[in-house]
């Protein structure tokens, strides 16, 4: 089911959480709402769910205007950041809840409910826990039960608020992949909120970057990484080095491989990903020295110090595969030459 938001705005007192959000999400997508904390992403999710009312604008779910519908009438499934499982009910009763509160006329009988509940618990691979209470489960298990509970009402849209936020790193990695596979299997339009760009890139088919209540960019993870729309997205979506034209000479840019085209003005800033910087050992008297490096698994992150024309030092980060770094045989304090393969210019 497609989701269309038009002109959504929300204020909390004097604080304006969302301004004029327009967003279209085609059916079957798995979308990440990505942004720093306080950017309005959770508010937007709660407005789509109906847990929060929008001040103005419209919410269309599958072409139907649901702006005025109560949360219980929107046909959505919501997974809360801290799961909000019913702690006085067993896992089984938690999952069955959505079916049991249905109107008598459409409510399935207990046998059907039991059958479906067990099927859902098997889907999340936790049927063996059906007699437990939420307090007896681990974080990852609670997360999956919360998901099963939300899926029990066959929602046309699945909304997840920071689904992996409260889990430890290894569980998070597993669950991300599991969620992606599950989405592939069920193909229900899903939106999840996250502040972790890596998570958004890894799980989502579409990423919506939010900042200060506005949408900065929407696109596939590759699009957003390779063609960031502005400096905010470029910085938020991955590591970048910023080179301000006013701090360097044009000659220097040309020497490292970045020709200055006409639209670049003296206020322009070049954003360079660490893996787009190449370094070579040199005996020239260049103002770039190798300060330190860290192992990030397959990659090495190299910390360089560049002395600016005004005499101040500037930290520059480069990344390269382990093997390549070994071949260069660099030591701390070595002088190096920079080569920049690619940069995004922002004004």
């Amino acid at each position: 089911m497609s989701i269309v938001l038009s002109n959504i705005s929300k204020n909390f007192g004097d604080f304006s959480a969302l301004h004029d959000i327009d967003l279209e999400i085609p059916e079957g997508e798995l979308v990440a709402l990505l942004g720093p904390s306080g950017c309005g992403k959770t508010t937007l999710l709660r407005i789509i769910a109906g847990l929060e009312q929008t001040d103005k604008g419209q919410i269309l779910l599958n072409g139907e205007d649901k702006t005025q519908h109560h949360v219980s009438q929107r046909g959505i499934g919501f997974v809360f950041q801290h799961y909000a499982l019913f702690r006085h009910m067993t896992v089984f009763d938690n999952v069955a809840f959505g079916m049991r509160v249905k109107d008598k006329k459409v409510r399935p009988n207990e046998t059907e409910i039991a059958k479906k509940t067990h099927a859902l618990l098997e889907l999340v691979q936790l049927d063996w826990l059906h007699n437990r209470f939420p307090d007896q489960l681990s974080g990852g298990q609670r997360q999956r039960i919360a998901l099963a509970r939300a899926l029990a009402v066959e929602p046309s849209v699945l909304l997840l608020d920071e689904p992996f936020g409260a889990l430890d790193a290894s569980v998070r990695k597993d669950l991300r992949q599991w969620l992606r596979n599950l989405h592939h299997e069920l193909n229900v339009t899903s939106i999840f909120v996250t502040h972790d760009q890596e998570e958004a890139m890894e799980v989502a088919s579409q990423v919506v970057v939010l900042n200060k209540g506005r949408i900065e960019q929407q696109g596939s993870p590759a699009d957003i990484y390779d063609y960031p729309a502005n400096a905010f997205v470029s910085k938020f979506i991955g590591q970048t080095n910023e080179f301000q034209l006013s701090h360097f000479s044009t000659d220097w840019f040309e020497k490292v491989g970045l020709p200055i085209s006409e639209e670049i003005t003296k206020d322009s800033i070049a954003h360079v990903r660490p893996h787009d910087i190449e370094i070579t050992k040199t005996t020239n008297d260049t103002p770039v020295t190798l300060k330190d490096w860290q192992h990030l698994g397959a990659l090495i992150r190299i910390e360089l110090t560049k002395i600016l024309p005004n005499g101040n030092p500037k930290a520059v980060f480069a990344e390269m595969p382990n093997e390549q770094f070994k071949r260069l045989q660099l030591n701390r304090g070595d002088k190096v030459d920079l080569k920049i393969r690619h940069a995004h210019w922002f004004h």
Partner: protein
């Protein structure tokens, strides 16, 4: 008791607890038991099966039970309002709730008796409009007990309501539950153990209450005479054995009822995974 206990200081704390229980609770209560042993069993039975005594027991436990039920209901609503809504004068309300704790119960009794007596402000209104008399009737006792015991319910339910995770309500709504279903299936089951505690406290308080009741009850034997008053009456007549026999019986019944409520509470908690 073994050395590998995770929580330290088991020995000193349990010793202190036992010391406290024996000095303050067990020794005085066992004195009561020993005193009543001066009676033969037949005498004891005679005293407590006396019609006037049985009637007083009925009045005491009946009114305490009724008052506890009503206080639980209204106390829950008051706690709900105080935790769920913000309104002006809320702090004032908070202070007002605790007032019955601090007020000498006799003062409460006299005030209630004044307004509920047939010629009093509310008494007259009820009499003329509904032909209802509260003062000097068992109903008057219930009114006094509600006044005394509402804060017990409010103050036990309130913190639980306050800590209640409202996301659970949102989750239930998102699953299609109506507001009523959210209340009956999500909120109430989580509050119920606390409400039972409040009920038990107000019941216990109601059974033992003396000061506020005697002014409004009318103290008519067989109708509105409570057990504590009967005990005092016996004492005034230097009928020590009679007083202890009644007191002991009251003690045992109260203990059994509170134990029952406790077991019920345990059962509720276990059934809802809170143990």
């Amino acid at each position: 008791m073994s050395q590998s206990r995770i929580m330290p200081a088991f020995r000193p704390t349990i010793s202190f607890t036992l010391l406290y229980l024996s000095l303050v609770v067990l020794i005085p209560l066992s004195t009561l038991v020993f005193k009543s042993f001066q009676l033969s069993f037949d005498d004891y039975l005679n005293i407590i099966t006396n019609k006037r005594v049985v009637a007083a027991f009925r009045v005491s436990f009946g009114t305490a039970l009724g008052a506890a039920v009503i206080a639980s209901f209204f106390g829950f609503i008051v706690a709900w309002v105080l935790t769920r809504y913000t309104f002006s004068g809320k702090r004032f309300f908070h202070a007002l709730i605790d007032l019955p704790f601090a007020l000498p119960t006799a003062v409460a009794g006299i005030v209630l008796a004044t307004i509920f007596q047939p010629s009093g402000m509310l008494g007259k209104f009820l009499k003329t409009n509904f032909d209802l008399q509260i003062g000097f009737k068992p109903a008057g006792i219930v009114v006094a007990l509600i006044f005394i015991s509402i804060p017990f319910v409010v103050r036990t339910v309130e913190p639980v309501l306050q800590e209640f995770d409202s996301r659970m309500e949102e989750a239930a709504s998102s699953l299609g539950a109506t507001r009523w279903q959210v209340f009956t299936k999500i909120i109430f089951p989580n509050i119920f153990p606390a409400l039972l505690t409040g009920f038990a406290l107000s019941f216990a308080r109601g059974v033992g209450e003396y000061g506020s009741v005697i002014f409004i009850a009318g103290n008519l034997p067989y109708v509105s005479e409570i057990v504590p008053l009967l005990i005092i009456t016996k004492l005034e007549q230097y009928d020590m054995p009679g007083a202890t026999a009644i007191a002991l019986t009251m003690l045992v019944i109260s203990f059994l009822l509170l134990l029952l409520i406790n077991l019920l509470q345990n059962w509720v908690r276990k059934r809802s995974g809170q143990l």
